[in-house]
Symmetry: C2
Subunit: 116 residues, 2 copies
């Protein structure tokens, strides 16, 4: 997906109620759909789960290319989508970039779907 | 999205652990991504929320066209996607088709994302 379509997940915090609670308005549905599109890709789901499973939920980009069997530019693109959508944070330290799970991002989406 | 890409959400039940618990395997990530794609559309999110908000979480197709301001064939397409993906059940009674929320479908996806 194009990076210009993305919006940070923090925009979801006040967008809408859980989808089963009341009919969604157009604006809230648009925002939630964008956040879901950023997640709805097998490579991005795997990257998120690899980062989350690492110690301290943080992984070096050098650990993220090999497990997926994808080229480094492809992995970089998916990581950019996840950062732009607010699921991952990125920090450059020395030679490498490190990616960590953004606190509450997945829980926000999950809560809007599930109202658990 | 094409209906041939869809798989019923019941296929997710044994596919995988919550994505933050362990690195996802390719097969599970592919299945979860397909289910998320079926959700990642503003019109489909609104249709789901309208059905869920109706009494008994069931709505006549005759109640679903007008609120979205979309043509009847477009709404029908989105409803087909939601039924094929397992989020809605469809029952024909007399003249009209009735759509109801499939039990546990949204909770399954929500649980895989959020591990709440």
């Amino acid at each position: 997906m194009s990076l210009t379509e993305l919006l940070p997940i923090t925009d979801l915090n006040d967008c809408c109620a859980p989808i089963t609670r009341e009919p969604m308005k157009a604006d809230g549905a648009e925002k939630l759909a964008r956040s879901l599109k950023a997640l709805a890709d097998p490579a991005r789901l795997r990257l998120l789960s690899i980062v989350a499973s690492h110690e301290d939920a943080e992984a070096c980009v050098c650990d993220l290319t090999e497990p997926l069997g994808l080229s480094q530019p492809t992995v970089s693109h998916h990581l950019k989508v996840l950062v732009s959508a607010g699921y991952l944070n990125r920090e450059k330290r020395g030679t490498w970039a490190y990616y960590s799970l953004a606190p509450h991002a997945l829980e926000t989406v999950s809560g809007l779907l599930g109202d658990l």
